[in-house]
Symmetry: C2
Subunit: 199 residues, 2 copies
């Protein structure tokens, strides 16, 4: 790579973005230099501000620049006594977009992964234990991903709830609505059969 030093540095810097290789990084640098310097300066500023000011909600651990996120701040979200456990802030958004769920969340910001040194403390389970009592939670909905790590994490938290005598439920796994059986993997099909209900 050999543009001017500053352009080389910009191309390199873009490569920290997920899914951005040398070619796209080059395209990004030149597209902004040629056509959108104002937008680029705005991105530079917002990027700086977000990295400096975004931290975690004191209650649910999701990302926010306030002490509490909008959901935790809303007293109506406590009424149901439900607490939905998810792995990431994006999962919260996905569930919120269904407008189905009215309770609160707890965001693990990951999942148990002993091999990477991620144990209960790293995913906030000490804070969760306190929250379960402070918020007098009546149902914990385990909405971690249906992966090996997500299942293990759900299992661990399920045990925690059992010890505290709090009802824990796991979201249903099965064939996605609109999905075609022949393209669904065997594991999902097995879940779909074991989780079948009276028609």
């Amino acid at each position: 790579m050999s543009f001017s030093p500053l352009i080389n540095e910009l191309v390199s810097a873009f490569k920290i973005l997920p899914g951005v290789g040398a070619k796209s990084a080059q395209r990004m640098a030149f597209s902004l230099l040629e056509r959108n310097r104002e937008g680029a300066l705005h991105l530079s500023k917002v990027l700086h501000d977000a990295m400096e000011h975004v931290s975690h909600c004191e209650q649910c651990r999701t990302f926010t620049e306030s002490r509490l996120c909008k959901i935790c701040e809303n007293p109506m979200r406590s009424e149901s006594g439900q607490l939905c456990i998810v792995e990431s802030p994006q999962d919260v958004l996905a569930i919120e977009q269904t407008s189905e769920y009215k309770g609160k969340y707890f965001v693990l910001m990951g999942h148990l992964s002993p091999i990477d040194g991620i144990g209960p403390a790293e995913i906030g389970l000490n804070e969760l234990a306190e929250l379960l009592i402070a918020e007098s939670v009546s149902e914990v909905i385990l909405a971690t991903n249906p992966t090996v790590e997500g299942e293990a994490t759900a299992h661990y938290i399920g045990q925690m709830c059992k010890e505290k005598d709090i009802k824990a439920t796991r979201i249903a796994h099965g064939v996605p609505v609109g999905g075609e059986l022949e393209y669904i993997d065997g594991n999902t099909l097995t879940h779909a059969f074991t989780g079948r209900r009276q028609f």
Copy 2:
């Protein structure tokens, strides 16, 4: 989209990048917040500096933060008397990587496109006319892209050279080395046949 205001703004800001839609912008924002705040702050700084300081080389018009780019600064590049005309700084890089060409460049930063209001002045042809005389150029190599606009631009500059009695050549079009005939478009094949040489 409804994360905290600052995160929403960051996701929006990433969407100015070419090829980045809502989903990738989200992925970028969270990946940096979770795993690489230092890299993000560095990107923010370099992005700001590049937008503020990168301008055009006074001679060849390529992007650089100096008055002259490294190639124009190098007196050995004037020896051959050759001037290669390309559309973009990335084209310069591509040609430099072949280590084949030892002359200078002139970067149009685009191509003629009357429909978009891009005429000879917008692609620097006034500066080019001056340069042809000041640098006593003996050969102009037209290396614009083999597109309709690239060909029209090459044709226009070729005429300029003819009027000034300067030799102009066009890079060869044909089957790419390693390319398979059956996958080459008809236009390229036509060029390959009309440009054929004694074996």
